[in-house]
């Protein structure tokens, strides 16, 4: 196995996701298949090749420090499942 069930559980909890044990079995197997497929890339010899973070050569895209109005509070709240007094309402975490 490329990935253990414990690792999958750990990543799930970091992502605030919870799974039933049987779901965890399925997901672990699927992730394992994906990792095996991706592993093919390791067959290439990349010694001496600089790591690339972006697919193109562009550098230095900047904005000037100028303020622009974007959304009203109503618009900002439009997608919120729950809101109160112009604020997003969420379950308490701590």
């Amino acid at each position: 196995m490329k990935i253990t069930k414990e690792e999958v559980s750990h990543i799930a909890s970091l992502s605030r996701l919870s799974f039933e044990p049987e779901e965890l079995d399925v997901i672990s197997l699927q992730l394992n298949d994906i990792l095996i497929y991706i592993e093919k890339l390791n067959g290439l010899d990349t010694s001496g090749v600089e790591p690339v973070t972006h697919a193109h050569d562009l550098v230095n895209a900047f904005r000037d420090d100028e303020v622009k109005e974007w959304l009203s509070n109503d618009e900002a709240m439009d997608n919120a499942p729950q809101s109160d007094n112009g604020q997003f309402k969420v379950p308490r975490i701590i």
Binding site: H10, S13, L14, S15, R16, T53, H54, H56, L58, V59, N60, A61, F62, R63, D64, D65, E66, V67, K68, W70, L71, S72, N73, A76, M77, D84, N85, G86, Q87, F88, K89, V90, P91, R92, I93, I94
Partner: protein, 476 residues
């Protein structure tokens, strides 16, 4: 057994740009919740963050001012954690290639000696939003106005060995960001935030002990007190043969103690990776030179120059260079009234007293440098007494009227005309026969009282030196 503390500080400094780091929303404080937001800082899918050039400039300024080496290539990274103050589920930060590394700043220790504290790295990142927790129900309310406000994180080497040194380090850093005008540097208001890593070890040991991370300190004093407490706590555990647990602890100001942060302490597992939305930044040598050439005189250099140029005592120099505006005020004033020591005294005593009363900053003060110079010249020429000058300074402070105008309009010119002075002195001598007798009997100190009476009658406008001479002539 003697222990020593090993302290490293992580400071977050909010930059005072007009707009956020990756979008054009305003960074102003105090707006109604979620009114300075846009699809980018709300974390909507499909948006494209673009770096604010000013943030980079400010970062370069601080990097140069802290003697760091600047990385020519910068990459932004995603730091993942799930918390409602962070709508994207990750914070855009820097990881492998921060803007600057390997710098130092110099602090002054209690005994006056200097010490260099290494700067491990400085990187750019975005601030998170604000949560307000409901006190009755298990709910939180999220305001994302602050999300995306630019921050610099400044990480020190673990080279601080006492709480006072930590306080000094923070003061030097605050002074720097204020001189550079890149941040308000206000800890109470959150524009400067500090977390501390601290461990202790037997004096002389080279290996580091287990550290704890301290958070929730909102002033320099809190930082020092929290570190002092933590040193005592860790020392007691060590002496008791117990293990120190690596954990995050929160400073509780009311109780004066640190407490472990509640909730499950997840090992930091941020899954950093380069942010594909932000293309790399390449900083040319010319650009660095430009910033370097445009860099203002830093506090340490200014203090050296003040010493050489004005020959003032060290304490005076420290007070006068506490802010750039104050130092400029002093220098402007000396240009017009070339007596540095006198100017320094008047600024540090009289002017500071007035500013302190109203908790004002020199920049908000109605007294201009030429006003003070004018006033000192009036004293120097014997036109007004020191006492009258203080009254005039208060009036200029309140209204911004130039001292010369006040003197002319209110007839405050010192009376040096002998006829007037003789007649007032005679009056005072007649009205105070007992004191005159005492003086004649050899109690020379009484003269001070009589001079005071003359000053009272002339509303402080008499020239005290001349009054003294005349009185002695009359009754001696």
């Amino acid at each position: 057994m003697e222990f020593e503390a090993v302290i490293g500080l992580e400071v977050h400094c909010q930059l005072k740009t007009k707009s956020k780091i990756f979008c054009s929303c305003s960074t102003d404080f105090g707006a109604p919740p979620n009114t300075h937001v846009c699809p980018i800082c709300l974390g909507m899918p499909g948006v494209l963050p673009v770096l604010n050039k000013k943030v980079l400039e400010y970062a370069l300024k601080l990097s140069l001012a802290t003697n760091c080496s600047i990385n020519n290539r910068n990459i932004f990274a995603r730091k993942h954690y799930f918390y409602p103050d962070l709508p994207k589920g990750y914070q855009i930060s820097q990881f492998d290639l921060p803007i600057a590394e390997h710098g130092w700043i110099e602090i002054e220790k209690q005994d006056g000696t200097k010490k260099r504290i290494g700067i491990t790295r400085i990187h750019m990142e975005e601030d998170a939003g604000k949560l307000i927790h409901d006190d009755k129900r298990p709910l939180s309310y999220v305001d994302l106005n602050r999300t995306g406000t630019p921050l610099l994180e400044i990480v020190s080497e673990p080279e601080i060995s006492a709480p006072e040194e930590a306080g000094e380090y923070l003061k030097v850093l605050r002074e720097l960001v204020r001189y550079l005008e890149i941040s308000d540097g206000n800890m109470e208001e959150g524009s400067l935030r500090c977390d501390a890593n601290i461990s202790i070890r037997k004096r002389g040991d080279t290996e580091l002990g287990t550290k704890t991370e301290l958070k929730n300190m909102n002033s320099f004093r809190h930082v020092q007190k929290a570190l002092e407490y933590e040193i005592r706590r860790q020392t007691a555990l060590m002496l008791d043969g117990q293990k120190i647990v690596q954990e995050t602890r929160l400073w509780d100001e009311a109780k004066g103690i640190t407490l472990p942060m509640r909730g499950k302490e997840e090992a930091h597992d941020y899954r950093y990776f380069p942010d594909p939305d932000l293309i790399p930044v390449e900083i040319s040598a010319e650009w660095i030179d430009d910033i370097k050439n445009g860099l203002i005189e830093l506090p340490a250099q200014k203090r050296e120059r003040f010493k050489a140029q004005y020959g003032l005592p060290y304490e005076d120099i420290r007070s006068l260079t506490a802010s750039r505006a104050l130092a400029d005020f002093f220098e402007e004033c000396v240009k017009k009234f070339n007596n540095p020591k006198k100017v320094a005294n008047w600024i540090m005593v009289e002017l500071m007293k007035l500013l302190k009363q109203d908790a004002l900053d020199i920049a908000q003060c109605k007294i201009q440098p030429q006003h003070l110079a004018e006033l000192l010249l009036l004293i120097d020429e014997g036109k007004i007494s020191g006492k009258i000058a203080k009254d005039i300074l208060e009036k200029t402070y309140a209204t911004g009227r130039p001292p010369t105008d006040i003197v002319n309009e209110e007839g405050l010119l010192q009376v040096s005309d002998d006829d007037t002075l003789y007649s007032v002195c005679k009056e005072v001598a007649t009205e105070n026969p007992k004191e005159v007798d005492k003086f004649r009997a050899g109690k020379k100190k009484v003269i001070g009282f009589l001079v005071g009476q003359v000053m009272k009658k002339t509303k402080g406008k008499a020239n005290p030196k001349r009054v003294n001479e005349i009185l002695i002539e009359l009754i001696g």
